[in-house]
Symmetry: C2
């Protein structure tokens, strides 16, 4: 469970590029294949490495608009929250959803083709949820940073 320096080096490399081969990693950290292999498998089994994914280019897929939605629910009860959560999980344009502190209840991040799609999403999918009382939209004008790399 405890991660030593070698584990951390492996994780740093794999966070950058999941397609580094065991040999690549072994070379970079001056070890043979075996310990690298064993450690990666251990990190996967322990759940430190959750999954390997491909990062696609939003714009090349036609998703040119990113927005944050600050959502307030009608009631702050468990059932209301749960109902809302379930609906969100089925919306592919919602890539992040967090229950938060402050003047509203949820912070959502939406990735969507354009303003027209957002209008449709807002009016026909989000605001129609029975649990939703208020939506405040924050438009992303320009993306400065977006990374899956966690500090280790």
């Amino acid at each position: 469970m405890a991660l030593d320096e070698i584990d951390k080096k492996i994780l740093r490399l794999l966070q950058e590029n999941a397609h580094y081969t065991l040999k690549d990693i072994a070379n970079k950290i001056n070890l043979s294949l075996t310990p690298v292999h064993d450690r990666v498998k251990r990190l996967e089994k322990e759940g430190v490495i959750e999954k390997y994914v491909s990062i696609l280019n939003k714009k090349k897929l036609g998703n040119n608009l990113t927005v944050y939605c600050q959502v307030t629910l009608t009631k702050q009860t468990y059932d209301t929250s749960e109902g809302f959560n379930q609906s969100i999980l089925n919306m592919p344009e919602v890539v992040e959803c967090n229950y938060v502190s402050g003047n509203f209840d949820y912070m959502l991040k939406i990735i969507i083709p354009d303003m027209e799609s957002y209008h449709h999403f807002h009016q026909k999918k989000l605001s129609v949820l029975p649990e939703v009382s208020l939506i405040n939209t924050v438009f992303v004008i320009s993306e400065v940073k977006s990374t899956t790399v966690l500090p280790i």
Copy 2:
């Protein structure tokens, strides 16, 4: 440049799991290795597939706190923005930074071990930036959804 249905099927699979083999993909979409291989390479070259990364478990790395920072700059000039952007790019705990519309200028997402680390980050790293005028913190109480999968 245009993506056909086969490309989209491949992309959907690779978004889920970057470790699917060509054979896995070929089986799932009823094709031989060659076209799958060629299409993946083409999608990489065109930049539709940006990269392959490993997703690590925040908590197992000791990062138990996520917060959104809503930052207002002292001035809304290009130089002020650029200075701020550059500082942010060098902060590993900032995993997202977007220039946004509304009552503040930037929306940041911070992933950090605990409240004490956040206090330190806030006081010693963020609020000390010469471009920063105001910071409003929104704490994540519970994560409902977080995905790298884009709708295709």
